[in-house]
Symmetry: C2
Subunit: 378 residues, 2 copies
């Protein structure tokens, strides 16, 4: 198995830790943020941009890639790394979340889920075995078990049912994965809604599968933060603390900080790239809406403390001009900046954990946002 995880430092005040995750495509210092490359490309940026902003691992999506262009084609062309021109580690989401949120006319059974492709309406099928098959063919470093995720709110009965199915599917994913033995890693996913005892049950059973890594899914669905963190804490306590912990789809910068404070090592979220395309930029002082008229003549970079190529070369006034005139370069420059912000955020936390100054880092992070609110950032 081409995955090794080593914890390098721990926060004396809590479960946060700095680690090193070694894969066949390179080492990943953790905690780290994984840019989202759903369709085999991180929207509006190229692999060289990803390296420039310090990305070490990217996320792609099983559901989308199995439909377009198809995993058979990707495999024939040498696998996803080669296809998308990214030679660093790749993790794929199993596609469960997308089946339930995007596909129409889906029919869920114990066996798997029948659905229609959102691209062309063609019938498709995803099962635990099929999810592993697709991810194996893509050649990714880390694959995820197929899970079913309840929304928010969900009844206890719904959460219980979904957790049970997710576990039975995880066992089938594990068997399919073991039968292939390609050296790729498989992570299990904790579900259980916002019922801490269900999260603990799911975590125990997931840990018992003894997979190379573990994830907590089904968070950041609109729940109050207190419920989110209670669910994560409950799960973490019953997981194997020597394995990497991936907090799926979370979230805003403050959520990333809260997640890693609670022991999560890997993060992904569409926010930095999606918000970039809408002209919302992240800074240590908060969010900046670049289309706002007050940036019209502002020759400062988006964030004076940022070393990204966008902040090194372009003014707020120029970025605003690009957004106002609908120029495609706007998307790239904003995405590069936001990704750099997220990667600096996790890299800064890692550095603080290694130096034993995480509580100071945490305080500084919130002081920055507070200062920003006084200065009109949102």
């Amino acid at each position: 198995m081409n995955l090794r995880f080593r914890i390098e430092a721990r926060d004396p005040a809590g479960p946060a830790r700095a680690g090193l995750l070694a894969t066949a495509h390179g080492e990943i210092p953790t905690p780290t943020f994984m840019p989202v490359g759903t369709r085999g490309t991180v929207k509006a940026v190229a692999p060289d941009d990803l390296r420039t902003v310090g990305a070490r691992m990217v996320l792609a999506n099983t559901f989308h890639l199995m439909l377009r262009p198809g995993e058979d084609l990707v495999a024939r062309l040498g696998g996803l790394h080669r296809f998308m021109g990214w030679d660093g580690p790749i993790l794929t989401d199993s596609g469960g979340f997308q089946v339930f949120s995007l596909a129409s006319l889906r029919r869920l059974t114990e066996e798997g889920v029948d659905f229609r492709s959102p691209y062309d309406g063609a019938r498709a099928f995803l099962s635990p075995e099929r999810a592993v098959e697709v991810q194996t063919a893509l050649g990714v470093d880390v694959m995820m078990c197929l899970d079913e995720c309840t929304g928010y709110p969900a009844t206890r009965a719904e959460a219980e049912k979904s957790l049970g199915l997710t576990l039975r599917w995880a066992k089938r994913c594990r068997a399919a994965w073991l039968s292939k033995a390609t050296g790729q890693a498989l992570f299990g996913i904790v579900q259980g809604g916002f019922y801490p005892d269900l999260r603990k049950l799911s975590a125990r059973e997931t840990a018992a599968l003894d997979l190379p890594g573990q994830a907590v899914g089904g968070l950041a669905l609109g729940e109050p933060p207190a419920e989110r963190w209670a669910a994560l804490e409950a799960a973490r306590e019953d997981l194997d603390e020597n394995k990497p912990l991936y907090l799926m789809g979370v979230g805003a910068p403050a959520d990333i900080i809260e997640g890693l404070r609670r022991g999560a090592d890997l993060f992904d979220c569409v926010l930095p790239t999606r918000n970039a395309r809408n002209g919302q930029l992240f800074t240590r002082l908060g969010r900046l809406a670049i289309r706002n008229a007050r940036h019209r003549q502002d020759e400062r970079p988006v964030d004076e403390a940022c070393s990204c190529p966008t902040c090194r070369s372009f003014s707020r006034a120029y970025l605003r001009h690009l957004f106002q005139t609908g120029e495609p370069l706007a998307m790239r420059l904003a995405s590069v900046h936001n990704l750099k912000y997220y990667l600096d955020l996790t890299a800064g936390a890692r550095e603080a954990l290694l130096k034993g100054t995480f509580s100071e880092y945490y305080r500084n992070f919130h002081e920055g946002l507070e200062q920003g609110r006084a200065e009109g950032y949102s």
Copy 2:
């Protein structure tokens, strides 16, 4: 005046030549293609991409920039070079072409042209003096005289009238430019429709203004190639052959080759970037429609002879996937490739002119297209 032009080599068989154009922002080996950055950005590519593909000078547009974001703002932020993050030479189109093709409710008088902005309907005015004022404020290396351009077809009377106005405006541009003496260069523009004797008249009068450079405008408007080249040849014979000659808005790769064969030094055209965004890629074998199903599994680069970052890292299959799924990266990768194709085309011609092998280069160019037609390129 910060512009010097030196001819380094001439084609023994015709007026084609290799030269060196020196500006305050660097030297430009000619012939060369200038990527079009209408609004202060070459669509979908960043300044570092432009350097990578070998661009030496970019074109921006007076009409667009005076309306959005306004030349006053650009000047206050340090000029167009700094605003757009491009420290190489910049030439601006005067805006005449856009006034006549884009603006609504325009009213043309001897004084200038009143029009409504296509952005917000606001009233605006462009005159020879105003065109020079805007371009001076932008701080570009080469500014163009405001001209009026007839379409195709146009009667002799229309062409004569437009030529006369263009000349009177050129004299006023020259006076405004001389009064400023900023070191920026001003080029005159030959008009005259498709009447060779009118082109000669316009060329003689334009040459008599003794401006630092000269351009031929009003071509590539849908006329038959024979008329286009007759107009260019007629003009060139009566221009000052020791000054740089800019062939405005021309054109397809074969047109660039025909233009430089007839002595033009500078070229611009939206084709490489516009076609890129539509999935049409230029190669030495002809044009390739990347969305075509036959590229679905093709692991070859767009052009095996191309050294651009797109061809070095990505397959046709991957590019097709990006276009099929509407990913923004498609536009950048395709634009970078097409610009590299155009810049290699003019750089190759220059090299051949320096080596005395231009007629061979010309033959090879057409042989490539012929071979491509046999292989299904268009």
